[in-house]
């Protein structure tokens, strides 16, 4: 009798704890995020705001024509996709060609260093290495390949965003590598390869036809999340990017903090576009991972 009562009472308290947990999550995460999306949208169409003169599309038109939204709309996703794809390709090639590297704990330990490096430090490091007066330029000067900073190619704040790409590649490649190493073990790729080789496949064809598709299929979810994280990158493009075009975060922050208050609704238009893109991308990633989970 005692057991039953205590069991039910603690079960009830567990339910109460669950309700408290979900309420806390709603208050601390769901409501602020809903506020963010709603406030940005309403502000961008003139519904609210100190200088609001009523509902209007003029802020969106301003953002699209002179506010840099149009250029940011192609620049941010292109750059995020390029750095994600490059990191993914480098990692897949490395893991498929050298799968035994996954056994080395020291190699894995070294890979965690760029992962643990904060974005602000990565940006600072890449700038100090690659700017025309940076460490790489000084090394080349020692080798008599460069005479002055002006001879060094422009790799930061450059037209092709090489500095941003290098920084994002440097910080995301280890993530993909470690994930692929783990996946190789969890998906028992070696076992499938052994079966293929027993049926007559060569070691190379088993790597390319068995291991590569298995890894590529499982890494898709992480690739989408990395793309979304790169899309919202701030510190790296702030320090290594040009004045125009700019990535979403940098452009939104600059529009928001300008003295001209007329520019603020444009920042919210940018924020609305960004939050929509991220929400759609995340929903897609979660749907994919659910479908993958169901199929496997």
């Amino acid at each position: 009798m005692t057991i039953k009562t205590s069991g039910s009472s603690s079960g009830l308290s567990s339910d109460r704890l669950d309700r408290i947990g979900l309420t806390l999550l709603t208050l601390t995460v769901a409501l602020p995020m809903a506020w963010s999306a709603g406030y940005a949208l309403l502000y961008s169409v003139g519904g609210i705001g100190h200088l609001s003169t009523g509902w209007s599309w003029r802020y969106w038109q301003g953002a699209l024509s002179t506010g840099g939204l149009r250029s940011s709309l192609w620049y941010s996703p292109t750059l995020a996709a390029a750095s994600t794809l490059a990191a993914l390709v480098v990692s897949l090639i490395f893991v498929v060609f050298f799968p035994t590297a996954r056994h080395s704990r020291s190699f894995q330990a070294i890979l965690t260093i760029p992962l643990a490096t904060p974005a602000a430090v990565t940006a600072f490091l890449v700038y100090q290495w690659l700017n025309p007066g940076g460490f790489a330029s000084r090394l080349l000067h020692r080798l008599n390949l460069v005479e002055s900073p002006a001879d060094f190619p422009i790799l930061v704040m450059d037209e092709w965003s090489i500095g941003i790409l290098v920084a994002q590649l440097w910080s995301t490649t280890p993530l993909f590598l470690l994930y692929c190493f783990k996946t190789w073990e969890h998906a028992r790729v070696d076992r499938f390869r052994a079966v293929a080789e027993a049926l007559g496949a060569s070691p190379w064809s088993s790597r390319l036809s068995i291991a590569l598709p298995m890894l590529a299929r499982r890494v898709r979810g992480l690739a989408i999340l990395t793309f979304l994280a790169n899309l919202g990158a701030y510190e790296i493009p702030l320090l290594l990017g040009r004045q125009a075009p700019q990535m979403f975060s940098v452009l939104a922050q600059r529009r928001f903090t300008q003295f001209d208050l007329e520019q603020r609704p444009q920042a919210f238009a940018l924020a609305s576009v960004y939050l929509t893109l991220v929400s759609v991308g995340l929903a897609f990633a979660l749907l994919r991972s659910r479908r993958d989970g169901q199929s496997s």
């Binding site: 506020w35 406030y39 602000a120 960004y274």
Partner: protein
């Protein structure tokens, strides 16, 4: 003759095996140099003052940034203290909220949630994971101003906790399994109340998870720049805002030291998370170890009961 052919074949087979190994070591070595090498520049730059072209080392190796770190007027030391306090506050808040929220999500979805509800909670918790703090900061700024939180320590801590709590909820919801539920049920079946469930079933499993989650969420706060710069509005001086201030002032050596100050705790925490026993035991999901856990918990609980009976 046959022996010669055999040995030649063996040698070629051996060389065919060693060549990829050498290539693997070479490429892995290159990756390792790329991962570690750039950081050495930070140490070099922090050891002196000035860095004029084309010198590889600072103009004077006087360790000035390090010597000024302890002085009363040094802004970096103060920023480190603010960042550390923020990190501990955010870590504790997010771990507590994340534990309750993650546990609730896991239990709700395991028991009776529809796929739609599951997707909704996953979406809500993952959104701050991928969204940019600076853009969310832009959209929350006016609300924070109205609440009198903009430009305050509490305002920055609350904004950072928003993201950190979502992370902690994801962390606990994936780590909380049916095994924890069965263990709690066992303690209840043996007559234990909520306190006993907490002491014998939940806490022994939770402490490792909580340590990792606390480190991760504190790290998020320690390395955050978006919220600290925007919500802090220059009033809350953290290590990241200091680093950017040094970059704007073109103080390369001070900037290198600030970057090191940001980096070292991050590396230590990462090493702790990755290579300690906590993580290894946490993520080893051996189905037989559940039985051991049941037995241990039951034995521990019965022992406690016996002791309290004896005391009575």
């Amino acid at each position: 003759m046959v022996n010669h052919r055999d040995s030649a074949g063996e040698a070629s087979h051996r060389s065919a095996r060693t060549a990829p190994r050498i290539a693997a070591v070479g490429v892995a070595g290159w990756f390792a140099i790329c991962a570690v090498g750039p950081h050495l520049l930070l140490f070099l730059l922090s050891l002196g003052s000035g860095w004029s072209y084309p010198h590889l080392l600072p103009d004077r190796l006087d360790a000035r940034p390090w010597r000024s770190l302890g002085s009363e007027r040094d802004q970096l030391a103060r920023a480190m203290a603010v960042s550390a306090t923020l990190a501990v506050t955010v870590g504790l808040t997010a771990t507590s909220i994340g534990f309750l929220a993650g546990r609730a999500i896991s239990r709700t979805t395991q028991r009776h949630a529809t796929p739609l509800a599951l997707s909704f909670w996953r979406f809500i918790t993952y959104l701050p994971y991928v969204a940019s703090p600076i853009i969310v900061g832009v959209t929350l700024y006016d609300l924070w101003v109205r609440c009198g939180l903009a430009g305050t320590f509490l305002g920055v801590a609350l904004a950072q906790s928003l993201f950190a709590s979502a992370f902690a909820a994801v962390f606990f919801s994936t780590a909380w399994s049916a095994r924890e539920e069965r263990l709690a049920h066992l303690v209840r079946e043996l007559g234990g109340g909520p306190a006993d469930v907490w002491r014998h079933a939940t806490w022994p499993r939770l402490k490792g998870l909580a340590t990792v989650c606390f480190l991760q969420t504190s790290l998020f706060s320690w390395t955050d720049y978006g919220f600290a710069a925007l919500i802090g509005g220059g009033q809350v001086d953290t290590v990241t805002t200091r680093l950017f201030a040094y970059i704007r002032e073109a103080s390369v050596n001070q900037g290198a030291l600030a970057a090191l100050a940001l980096l070292i705790p991050a590396l230590i925490s990462c090493a702790v998370i990755t290579f300690t026993r906590i993580t290894r035991t946490l993520f080893t999901r051996d189905p037989t170890s559940g039985v051991e856990l049941y037995e241990k918990a039951a034995a521990r609980f019965q022992e406690g009961e016996r002791e309290s009976r004896n005391a009575r």
